[in-house]
């Protein structure tokens, strides 16, 4: 098997992992060596699926002793298997990095022999890259659940980011679809990384991923899990990966297309948790456990709380601004700082990058409302917001939405 065939196999098996970001690290330039990192991250290309490519995302090997039902690489699948040597990975990484194809390496692996053995392979590869090739760019490595903590420690000093995948939000789901996995082993790693994190150890923090739509869990289950992970382990990101049907199994749902709209809603809600002062209970509950696919979670929340609106742009607080659909973090900050120097008008809002098409239903400027008062009802606003969003969705997403209309 030549290098190209290997690369195709081992990129193909790695592509389902959603994390790609290369941000959050400030690796200073070293006099010797190659590369640095860029705090806000850099996308080098965009794949045909529209996702950013910033890292050489590959598996060390796609051989695996586990048999997770949703995974292409599971033991019982009859597929071509390959394994990279550490030297091969270094060669590809360095050659790609010098030509500015990539920001760094994202190395994961199927489990060969046992977790410690696999972990050692990753460590060997990455220390070669750091110490022999003096590679100073971004490295994200997967920690193998169940590996000894001294190995987690070794790996942590070599990488910018580490992640261990939670995969499914509940133990019940895990038992059904990934019988060899144990969520305790994942959280053990997270705990260790959290306790030891420093400028030299996993400097850009840890992340994790959940697969969406392979098991029965509700959005409420998923968001509760995320919120819990953010709080307990100080994760930088939780990634959501819409389940793509690669295998057949009685325990897997029969779907043809991945639930992309749902995935999108989860990302939106995740932002609300992290940056917009929302709590899970604000947006979902056991009575209302799943997202409205037609409308984004923030607008959905606003429509259920119409009595709190409209907000006056020149008088309400920063927190209140953040809750207005169509106003983002930057927009809210700009409004607050501008207000000190002049009275903000609708025209100014447009200049500040606020999406008036969405915000106009929920705000007043100096007491003035852009709509007529008799249109102030949830039905009318919902219809318009849905229409607005439809204009911006792609055809596959439209098909999925159509199912719910």
């Amino acid at each position: 098997m030549n290098l190209q065939e290997k690369l195709i196999i081992l990129a193909d098996s790695a592509k389902y992992d959603a994390s790609c970001s290369s941000s959050g690290s400030t690796r200073n330039i070293k006099s010797k060596g190659l590369g640095n990192t860029f705090f806000s991250g850099i996308c080098h290309s965009f794949a045909a699926d529209g996702r950013c490519i910033s890292l050489l995302k590959i598996l060390m090997t796609n051989c695996c002793i586990f048999d997770c039902k949703y995974c292409l690489n599971r033991r019982s699948n009859n597929i071509k298997r390959a394994i990279f040597t550490p030297e091969e990975i270094c060669q590809i990484t360095i050659n790609f990095y010098r030509r500015n194809y990539i920001e760094g390496l994202f190395l994961s692996s199927g489990i060969v022999q046992n977790p410690d053995y696999t972990m050692n392979l990753l460590i060997e590869t990455i220390s070669l890259l750091r110490n022999k090739y003096h590679f100073n760019g971004y490295i994200h490595a997967k920690a193998i659940p169940g590996a000894s903590l001294y190995l987690v420690k070794k790996l942590g000093y070599l990488v910018d980011r580490m992640s261990a995948n939670i995969e499914l939000p509940t133990d019940k789901g895990l038992k059904l679809l990934a019988p060899n996995k144990d969520s305790k082993k994942v959280t053990n790693i997270m705990h260790y990384v959290k306790e030891n994190r420093s400028a030299k150890f996993v400097s850009s923090g840890q992340s994790t991923q959940m697969i969406i739509g392979a098991s029965q869990e509700s959005d409420y289950d998923i968001m509760s899990k995320s919120s819990n992970l953010y709080q307990n382990y100080k994760l930088k990101r939780v990634f959501y990966s819409a389940y793509i049907p690669v295998n057949h199994d009685k325990n897997l749902p029969l779907i043809k297309t991945p639930p992309l709209v749902r995935e999108n809603r989860l990302y939106q809600a995740d932002w609300l948790l992290r940056y917009y002062h929302f709590k899970v209970e604000d947006i979902l509950s056991s009575d209302n456990p799943n997202f409205n696919l037609l409308i984004d979670p923030k607008a959905d929340w606003a429509l259920r709380h119409l009595d709190e609106f409209p907000k006056d742009i020149n008088h309400c607080s920063y927190e209140e601004l953040l809750k207005v659909p169509g106003i983002g973090l930057k927009g809210a900050k700009r409004i607050i700082s501008s207000r000190q120097y002049f009275t903000v008008t609708f025209k100014d809002l447009q200049k500040m990058g606020i999406v008036l098409k969405r915000a106009k239903y929920f705000i007043t400027c100096n007491g003035q409302y852009l709509m007529t008062k008799d249109l102030w009802n949830a039905d009318f606003i919902t219809k318009n917001l849905v229409l607005e969003e439809q204009k911006h969705t792609t055809d596959t997403k439209k098909e999925q939405l159509a199912l719910f209309l």
Partner: protein, 249 residues
């Protein structure tokens, strides 16, 4: 302030332009336009070039707040037809509002200026990712880029850190400028004055490019295909020099 019917001409460099702006502000002149030396005057244009040599450029520049000077520099790099005039008005407002000028989105020209700056910064950021080097004989890295704004200086600053221990050359194809880095610093030169005809690729270049193209094709998930999204993030105008998509054009 008095309106002038003259178009003011400046030598083609940033510091002279700033000196001129300072001088115009001091004499309270609102010029019809400000243009660099390559400007070809129309039949009825009245042009004037001030002698800036007796003025103390470093003193003028040191009086300008760092953020404002930076903003002026980004404006200077932009491809906007009236960038000099926009710079001048932004400069005038910065004299009035000091560093608070950045909050004054209610003033159209300030808003315009800040949007242009954002556009230049965005393009620079995009090119940090989209630039593709090829390896030539003797391990020299060579990249051709195309960009709306004149960002080669900014981009070179980035690669000076990232590819510190490499020899590299970046060519802005549209402006015909080369940035040449010798492991210490980079130099911007007119490509006409350089003999770069002999671009011979290193032996392994083809193999590496093929590896990258296979990786690119593989990593996209076909069940998630989304051309609109891809085009949004990676506009076609850059594709010619992005190896992995150049043959899709």
């Amino acid at each position: 302030m008095k309106k002038s019917n003259y178009i003011y001409i400046y030598p083609n460099d940033f510091t002279s332009l700033i000196t001129l702006l300072g001088e115009l502000a001091k004499s309270k002149i609102l010029p019809l336009n400000i243009q660099d030396k390559n400007y070809i005057p129309g039949l009825f244009d009245k042009v004037i070039e001030l002698d800036l040599s007796p003025l103390n450029t470093p003193a003028i520049i040191s009086h300008i707040d760092k953020n404002i000077l930076n903003t002026l520099f980004y404006l200077y790099l932009s491809n906007h037809e009236y960038k000099e005039l926009i710079m001048y008005y932004f400069f005038l407002y910065s004299l009035k509002f000091k560093d608070k000028v950045f909050f004054h989105r209610d003033i159209n020209i300030v808003d315009k200026a800040l949007k242009i700056v954002k556009y230049v910064q965005n393009e620079n950021h995009k090119l940090k990712g989209f630039t593709r080097f090829k390896e030539l004989k003797r391990h020299i890295l060579y990249a051709e880029i195309t960009c709306e704004n004149n960002i080669i200086f900014l981009l070179s600053n980035h690669f000076k850190k990232r590819l510190k221990n490499e020899f590299w050359i970046i060519k802005d194809v549209k402006r015909n400028i080369l940035s040449i880095y010798d492991k210490k610093d980079f130099y911007l030169v007119d490509a006409n004055n350089c003999n770069l005809k002999e671009i011979i690729l290193s032996e392994e270049e083809q193999e590496i490019e093929d590896l990258w193209k296979s990786f690119y094709k593989t990593i996209g998930i076909k069940e998630r295909q989304n051309d609109r999204c891809r085009l949004n993030f990676m506009p076609k105008k850059y594709w010619k020099y992005i190896l992995e998509v150049s043959d899709e054009i």
